[in-house]
Protein backbone atom coordinates (compact mmCIF):
# COMPACT_ATOMS: atom_id res chain seq x y z
CA UNK A 1 0.00 0.00 0.00
CA UNK A 2 3.07 2.24 0.09
CA UNK A 3 2.63 3.52 -3.45
CA UNK A 4 -0.59 5.24 -2.40
CA UNK A 5 1.41 7.44 -0.05
CA UNK A 6 3.81 8.23 -2.89
CA UNK A 7 0.93 9.27 -5.14
CA UNK A 8 -0.37 11.46 -2.30
CA UNK A 9 2.87 13.40 -2.18
CA UNK A 10 2.95 13.88 -5.95
CA UNK A 11 -0.59 15.18 -6.47
CA UNK A 12 -0.10 18.77 -5.29
CA UNK A 13 3.28 19.40 -7.03
CA UNK A 14 1.81 17.96 -10.25
CA UNK A 15 -1.23 20.23 -10.07
CA UNK A 16 1.07 23.24 -9.52
CA UNK A 17 3.14 22.42 -12.62
CA UNK A 18 0.09 21.80 -14.79
CA UNK A 19 -1.67 25.00 -13.70
CA UNK A 20 1.43 27.19 -14.09
CA UNK A 21 2.38 25.82 -17.50
CA UNK A 22 -1.18 25.85 -18.82
CA UNK A 23 -1.70 29.38 -17.48
CA UNK A 24 1.47 30.58 -19.21
CA UNK A 25 0.43 28.83 -22.44
CA UNK A 26 -2.96 30.58 -22.30
CA UNK A 27 -1.18 33.92 -21.69
CA UNK A 28 -2.71 34.48 -18.26
CA UNK A 29 -0.73 37.05 -16.24
CA UNK A 30 0.12 34.28 -13.79
CA UNK A 31 1.76 36.18 -10.96
CA UNK A 32 -0.81 39.01 -10.87
CA UNK A 33 -3.64 36.48 -11.02
CA UNK A 34 -2.05 34.48 -8.21
CA UNK A 35 -1.89 37.57 -6.01
CA UNK A 36 -5.48 38.47 -6.81
CA UNK A 37 -6.71 35.00 -5.87
CA UNK A 38 -4.47 34.86 -2.82
CA UNK A 39 -6.19 37.89 -1.33
CA UNK A 40 -9.38 35.85 -1.09
CA UNK A 41 -7.42 33.31 0.95
CA UNK A 42 -6.51 35.93 3.56
CA UNK A 43 -10.10 37.06 4.07
CA UNK A 44 -11.34 33.47 4.05
CA UNK A 45 -8.93 32.36 6.79
CA UNK A 46 -9.58 35.48 8.90
CA UNK A 47 -13.35 35.14 8.62
CA UNK A 48 -13.03 31.56 9.83
CA UNK A 49 -11.18 32.61 12.99
CA UNK A 50 -14.10 33.47 15.30
CA UNK A 51 -15.96 30.27 14.34
CA UNK A 52 -12.90 28.15 14.92
CA UNK A 53 -11.82 29.90 18.11
CA UNK A 54 -15.22 29.59 19.77
CA UNK A 55 -15.54 25.94 18.90
CA UNK A 56 -11.95 25.01 19.79
CA UNK A 57 -12.25 26.63 23.23
CA UNK A 58 -15.46 24.73 23.92
CA UNK A 59 -13.97 21.40 22.81
CA UNK A 60 -10.78 22.05 24.77
CA UNK A 61 -12.80 22.61 27.94
CA UNK A 62 -14.61 19.35 27.30
CA UNK A 63 -11.30 17.56 26.82
CA UNK A 64 -9.35 19.19 29.68
CA UNK A 65 -12.10 18.42 32.19
CA UNK A 66 -11.76 14.72 31.47
CA UNK A 67 -15.30 14.49 30.06
CA UNK A 68 -13.99 13.57 26.59
CA UNK A 69 -11.97 10.66 27.99
CA UNK A 70 -14.96 9.49 30.02
CA UNK A 71 -17.16 9.59 26.91
CA UNK A 72 -14.59 7.80 24.78
CA UNK A 73 -13.97 5.26 27.56
CA UNK A 74 -17.66 4.49 27.58
CA UNK A 75 -17.65 3.64 23.89
CA UNK A 76 -14.33 1.87 23.51
CA UNK A 77 -15.32 -1.63 24.71
CA UNK A 78 -17.89 -1.88 21.92
CA UNK A 79 -15.82 -0.22 19.19
CA UNK A 80 -12.42 -1.79 19.86
CA UNK A 81 -14.13 -5.04 19.00
CA UNK A 82 -14.72 -3.59 15.51
CA UNK A 83 -11.19 -2.16 15.25
CA UNK A 84 -12.59 1.37 15.39
CA UNK A 85 -10.80 3.82 17.71
CA UNK A 86 -13.46 5.32 20.00
CA UNK A 87 -11.63 8.68 19.92
CA UNK A 88 -12.98 9.24 16.42
CA UNK A 89 -16.66 9.05 17.45
CA UNK A 90 -17.12 12.73 18.50
CA UNK A 91 -15.75 13.77 15.08
CA UNK A 92 -17.96 11.30 13.20
CA UNK A 93 -21.02 12.52 15.13
CA UNK A 94 -20.46 16.23 14.44
CA UNK A 95 -19.32 15.85 10.80
CA UNK A 96 -22.81 15.97 9.19
CA UNK A 97 -24.08 18.66 11.59
CA UNK A 98 -21.53 21.45 11.69
CA UNK A 99 -18.47 22.16 9.59
CA UNK A 100 -16.64 24.25 12.18
CA UNK A 101 -17.49 21.87 15.03
CA UNK A 102 -16.07 18.91 13.13
CA UNK A 103 -13.07 20.91 11.91
CA UNK A 104 -12.35 21.82 15.54
CA UNK A 105 -12.81 18.19 16.60
CA UNK A 106 -10.37 17.10 13.89
CA UNK A 107 -7.90 19.79 15.00
CA UNK A 108 -8.22 18.62 18.60
CA UNK A 109 -7.54 15.00 17.59
CA UNK A 110 -4.58 15.92 15.37
CA UNK A 111 -3.15 17.98 18.21
CA UNK A 112 -3.60 15.46 21.03
CA UNK A 113 -2.89 12.26 19.09
CA UNK A 114 -0.34 13.72 16.67
CA UNK A 115 -0.87 14.30 12.93
CA UNK A 116 1.08 11.17 11.93
CA UNK A 117 -0.66 8.84 14.37
CA UNK A 118 -3.31 6.45 13.11
CA UNK A 119 -6.10 8.50 14.68
CA UNK A 120 -4.59 11.72 13.34
CA UNK A 121 -4.58 10.35 9.79
CA UNK A 122 -8.05 8.92 10.17
CA UNK A 123 -9.39 12.24 11.48
CA UNK A 124 -7.75 14.06 8.53
CA UNK A 125 -9.32 11.70 6.01
CA UNK A 126 -12.75 11.79 7.63
CA UNK A 127 -12.83 15.57 7.84
CA UNK A 128 -11.73 16.03 4.23
CA UNK A 129 -13.87 13.41 2.55
CA UNK A 130 -17.40 14.65 3.19
CA UNK A 131 -19.17 17.98 3.53
CA UNK A 132 -21.60 19.19 6.16
CA UNK A 133 -24.98 17.81 5.09
CA UNK A 134 -27.12 20.10 7.26
CA UNK A 135 -25.27 23.19 6.05
CA UNK A 136 -25.54 22.22 2.38
CA UNK A 137 -29.26 21.48 2.70
CA UNK A 138 -29.99 24.70 4.59
CA UNK A 139 -28.05 26.92 2.20
CA UNK A 140 -29.28 25.42 -1.07
CA UNK A 141 -32.90 24.74 -0.21
CA UNK A 142 -33.13 27.98 1.75
CA UNK A 143 -31.77 30.08 -1.11
CA UNK A 144 -34.41 28.95 -3.59
CA UNK A 145 -37.35 28.54 -1.21
CA UNK A 146 -37.90 24.79 -1.20
CA UNK A 147 -40.24 23.88 1.64
CA UNK A 148 -40.43 20.10 1.27
CA UNK A 149 -37.02 18.45 1.08
CA UNK A 150 -38.29 15.00 0.14
CA UNK A 151 -35.68 12.35 0.74
CA UNK A 152 -32.76 14.80 0.63
CA UNK A 153 -31.93 14.69 4.36
CA UNK A 154 -32.13 10.90 4.49
CA UNK A 155 -29.94 10.53 1.40
CA UNK A 156 -27.40 13.04 2.75
CA UNK A 157 -27.10 11.40 6.16
CA UNK A 158 -26.81 7.88 4.76
CA UNK A 159 -24.12 9.19 2.39
CA UNK A 160 -22.27 10.61 5.39
CA UNK A 161 -22.43 7.25 7.10
CA UNK A 162 -21.00 5.63 3.97
CA UNK A 163 -18.24 8.28 3.89
CA UNK A 164 -17.34 7.66 7.53
CA UNK A 165 -17.22 3.90 7.04
CA UNK A 166 -15.19 4.36 3.85
CA UNK A 167 -12.66 6.52 5.75
CA UNK A 168 -12.41 3.87 8.47
CA UNK A 169 -11.86 1.00 6.05
CA UNK A 170 -9.48 2.85 3.71
CA UNK A 171 -7.34 4.19 6.58
CA UNK A 172 -7.30 0.74 8.15
CA UNK A 173 -6.06 -0.79 4.89
CA UNK A 174 -3.46 1.88 4.15
CA UNK A 175 -2.24 3.11 7.52
CA UNK A 176 -3.41 0.34 9.85
Amino acid sequence: MHYILHISNWIIPSIIVIVLLYGTYKRVPTYETFVEGGKEGVSMAISLLPFLLGMIVSISIFRASGAMDAFVGLLSPVLSFLNVPAEIVPLALTRPISGTASLSMATDLIQTEGPDSYIGRLASTMQGSTDTTLYVLTVYFGAVGIKRMGDALKVGLIADLIGIMASLIICYLIFG
Binding site: L5, S8, I18, S58, D116, S124, Y140, G163
Partner: protein
Protein backbone atom coordinates in the same frame (compact mmCIF):
# COMPACT_ATOMS: atom_id res chain seq x y z
CA UNK B 1 -28.00 22.58 16.40
CA UNK B 2 -24.51 24.14 16.37
CA UNK B 3 -25.57 26.31 19.30
CA UNK B 4 -26.56 23.25 21.32
CA UNK B 5 -23.31 21.41 20.58
CA UNK B 6 -21.25 24.47 21.44
CA UNK B 7 -22.95 25.22 24.75
CA UNK B 8 -23.20 21.55 25.74
CA UNK B 9 -19.47 20.90 25.27
CA UNK B 10 -18.45 23.87 27.40
CA UNK B 11 -21.09 23.47 30.13
CA UNK B 12 -20.76 19.69 30.47
CA UNK B 13 -16.98 20.12 30.52
CA UNK B 14 -17.06 22.68 33.32
CA UNK B 15 -19.57 20.74 35.42
CA UNK B 16 -17.59 17.54 34.92
CA UNK B 17 -14.40 19.38 35.96
CA UNK B 18 -16.10 20.35 39.25
CA UNK B 19 -16.59 16.69 40.18
CA UNK B 20 -13.39 15.45 38.58
CA UNK B 21 -11.17 18.06 40.24
CA UNK B 22 -9.81 19.28 36.92
CA UNK B 23 -10.99 22.89 37.11
CA UNK B 24 -7.40 24.18 37.06
CA UNK B 25 -6.71 22.44 33.76
CA UNK B 26 -9.95 23.85 32.38
CA UNK B 27 -8.98 27.38 33.41
CA UNK B 28 -5.65 27.07 31.72
CA UNK B 29 -6.99 25.59 28.52
CA UNK B 30 -9.58 28.34 27.98
CA UNK B 31 -6.81 30.79 27.18
CA UNK B 32 -4.23 28.50 25.63
CA UNK B 33 -6.75 27.00 23.23
CA UNK B 34 -7.92 30.45 22.12
CA UNK B 35 -4.32 31.28 21.36
CA UNK B 36 -3.96 27.99 19.46
CA UNK B 37 -6.92 28.91 17.30
CA UNK B 38 -5.20 32.16 16.31
CA UNK B 39 -1.94 30.32 15.53
CA UNK B 40 -3.92 27.84 13.47
CA UNK B 41 -5.51 30.69 11.50
CA UNK B 42 -2.05 31.97 10.58
CA UNK B 43 -1.10 28.57 9.16
CA UNK B 44 -4.47 28.46 7.42
CA UNK B 45 -3.73 31.81 5.77
CA UNK B 46 -0.48 30.47 4.32
CA UNK B 47 -2.11 27.44 2.73
CA UNK B 48 -5.29 29.15 1.57
CA UNK B 49 -3.47 32.12 0.00
CA UNK B 50 -1.24 29.81 -1.97
CA UNK B 51 -3.96 27.42 -3.01
CA UNK B 52 -6.63 29.99 -3.90
CA UNK B 53 -3.99 32.02 -5.76
CA UNK B 54 -3.05 29.01 -7.83
CA UNK B 55 -6.66 28.08 -8.45
CA UNK B 56 -7.39 31.58 -9.67
CA UNK B 57 -4.82 30.96 -12.42
CA UNK B 58 -6.51 27.64 -13.22
CA UNK B 59 -9.84 29.43 -13.45
CA UNK B 60 -8.55 32.26 -15.68
CA UNK B 61 -6.70 29.85 -17.95
CA UNK B 62 -9.96 27.98 -18.54
CA UNK B 63 -8.94 24.74 -16.83
CA UNK B 64 -12.22 24.70 -14.94
CA UNK B 65 -14.13 24.81 -18.23
CA UNK B 66 -11.97 22.00 -19.64
CA UNK B 67 -12.83 19.90 -16.63
CA UNK B 68 -16.50 20.74 -17.06
CA UNK B 69 -16.44 19.35 -20.61
CA UNK B 70 -14.71 16.21 -19.36
CA UNK B 71 -17.40 15.45 -16.80
CA UNK B 72 -20.41 16.33 -18.94
CA UNK B 73 -21.07 12.83 -20.36
CA UNK B 74 -21.13 11.37 -16.84
CA UNK B 75 -23.38 14.11 -15.52
CA UNK B 76 -26.00 13.71 -18.24
CA UNK B 77 -26.41 10.17 -16.92
CA UNK B 78 -26.44 11.19 -13.28
CA UNK B 79 -29.09 13.85 -14.03
CA UNK B 80 -31.37 12.22 -16.65
CA UNK B 81 -34.12 14.85 -16.18
CA UNK B 82 -31.89 17.81 -17.00
CA UNK B 83 -31.33 18.66 -20.69
CA UNK B 84 -27.58 18.28 -21.43
CA UNK B 85 -27.19 21.77 -22.92
CA UNK B 86 -29.38 23.69 -20.45
CA UNK B 87 -28.10 26.43 -18.16
CA UNK B 88 -28.99 24.19 -15.21
CA UNK B 89 -26.49 21.57 -16.39
CA UNK B 90 -23.89 24.29 -16.91
CA UNK B 91 -24.20 25.50 -13.33
CA UNK B 92 -24.23 21.96 -11.92
CA UNK B 93 -20.95 21.25 -13.72
CA UNK B 94 -19.39 24.55 -12.65
CA UNK B 95 -20.34 23.84 -9.05
CA UNK B 96 -18.82 20.37 -9.25
CA UNK B 97 -15.54 21.57 -10.81
CA UNK B 98 -15.18 24.37 -8.26
CA UNK B 99 -15.71 21.88 -5.43
CA UNK B 100 -13.17 19.56 -6.99
CA UNK B 101 -10.53 22.27 -6.79
CA UNK B 102 -11.48 23.09 -3.23
CA UNK B 103 -12.99 26.46 -4.17
CA UNK B 104 -15.87 26.30 -1.71
CA UNK B 105 -16.56 30.02 -1.95
CA UNK B 106 -16.87 29.88 -5.72
CA UNK B 107 -18.86 26.65 -5.67
CA UNK B 108 -21.72 27.93 -3.51
CA UNK B 109 -22.96 30.70 -5.87
CA UNK B 110 -22.87 28.23 -8.81
CA UNK B 111 -24.79 25.75 -6.68
CA UNK B 112 -27.46 28.27 -5.79
CA UNK B 113 -27.86 29.24 -9.46
CA UNK B 114 -28.11 25.55 -10.35
CA UNK B 115 -30.88 25.15 -7.76
CA UNK B 116 -32.75 28.15 -9.24
CA UNK B 117 -32.58 26.62 -12.72
CA UNK B 118 -33.71 23.23 -11.44
CA UNK B 119 -36.64 24.88 -9.69
CA UNK B 120 -37.66 26.47 -13.01
CA UNK B 121 -37.43 23.07 -14.71
CA UNK B 122 -39.71 21.77 -11.95
CA UNK B 123 -42.40 24.43 -12.70
CA UNK B 124 -41.37 26.44 -9.63
CA UNK B 125 -42.85 23.99 -7.18
CA UNK B 126 -41.91 24.25 -3.51
CA UNK B 127 -41.08 20.58 -3.36
CA UNK B 128 -37.60 19.28 -4.03
CA UNK B 129 -37.34 17.66 -7.48
CA UNK B 130 -35.52 14.42 -8.23
CA UNK B 131 -32.57 16.32 -9.74
CA UNK B 132 -32.30 18.63 -6.73
CA UNK B 133 -32.02 15.69 -4.35
CA UNK B 134 -29.35 14.10 -6.55
CA UNK B 135 -27.50 17.42 -6.70
CA UNK B 136 -27.51 17.79 -2.93
CA UNK B 137 -26.48 14.18 -2.41
CA UNK B 138 -23.46 14.82 -4.61
CA UNK B 139 -22.70 18.07 -2.80
CA UNK B 140 -22.87 16.66 0.72
CA UNK B 141 -20.35 13.98 -0.17
CA UNK B 142 -18.09 16.70 -1.65
CA UNK B 143 -15.57 15.45 -4.17
CA UNK B 144 -12.32 17.32 -3.46
CA UNK B 145 -8.85 16.66 -4.84
CA UNK B 146 -6.93 18.71 -2.32
CA UNK B 147 -8.19 19.06 1.27
CA UNK B 148 -6.23 22.30 1.84
CA UNK B 149 -7.60 23.15 5.30
CA UNK B 150 -6.68 19.76 6.75
CA UNK B 151 -3.21 19.97 5.21
CA UNK B 152 -2.76 23.33 6.97
CA UNK B 153 -3.81 21.85 10.31
CA UNK B 154 -1.40 18.93 9.89
CA UNK B 155 1.39 21.41 9.14
CA UNK B 156 0.54 23.39 12.25
CA UNK B 157 1.11 20.32 14.41
CA UNK B 158 4.41 19.36 12.77
CA UNK B 159 3.39 16.46 10.60
CA UNK B 160 6.25 14.68 8.83
CA UNK B 161 4.06 14.30 5.75
CA UNK B 162 1.15 16.76 5.76
CA UNK B 163 -0.04 15.62 2.33
CA UNK B 164 0.06 11.86 2.89
CA UNK B 165 -3.69 11.86 3.53
CA UNK B 166 -4.53 13.27 0.09
CA UNK B 167 -4.94 9.88 -1.54
CA UNK B 168 -6.95 8.35 1.31
CA UNK B 169 -9.20 11.41 1.26
CA UNK B 170 -9.75 11.11 -2.49
CA UNK B 171 -10.54 7.40 -2.19
CA UNK B 172 -12.95 8.00 0.70
CA UNK B 173 -14.63 10.86 -1.14
CA UNK B 174 -15.11 8.74 -4.29
CA UNK B 175 -16.66 5.92 -2.27
CA UNK B 176 -18.98 8.30 -0.40
CA UNK B 177 -20.04 10.04 -3.64
CA UNK B 178 -20.83 6.78 -5.40
CA UNK B 179 -22.62 5.66 -2.24
CA UNK B 180 -24.61 8.91 -2.19
CA UNK B 181 -25.68 8.45 -5.82
CA UNK B 182 -26.72 4.83 -5.23
CA UNK B 183 -28.71 5.74 -2.11
CA UNK B 184 -30.32 8.58 -4.06
CA UNK B 185 -31.29 6.19 -6.88
CA UNK B 186 -32.67 3.69 -4.38
CA UNK B 187 -34.94 6.28 -2.75
CA UNK B 188 -36.01 7.59 -6.17
CA UNK B 189 -37.09 4.16 -7.44
CA UNK B 190 -38.85 3.54 -4.16
CA UNK B 191 -40.80 6.79 -4.62
CA UNK B 192 -41.89 6.15 -8.19
CA UNK B 193 -42.84 2.53 -7.66
Amino acid sequence: MVNIIWVALAVIGIIYALFNGTIEEVNKVIFTSAEEAVALTITLISVLVFWLGLMKIAEKAGLLLKLTALFKPIFTRIFPEIPPNSTAMGYILSNFSANLFGLGNAATPFGIKAMHEMKKLNNNQEEASRSMITFLALNTSSVTIVPSTIIAIRMQYDSNAPTEIVMTTILATIVSSIGALLVDRYFYYRRVR
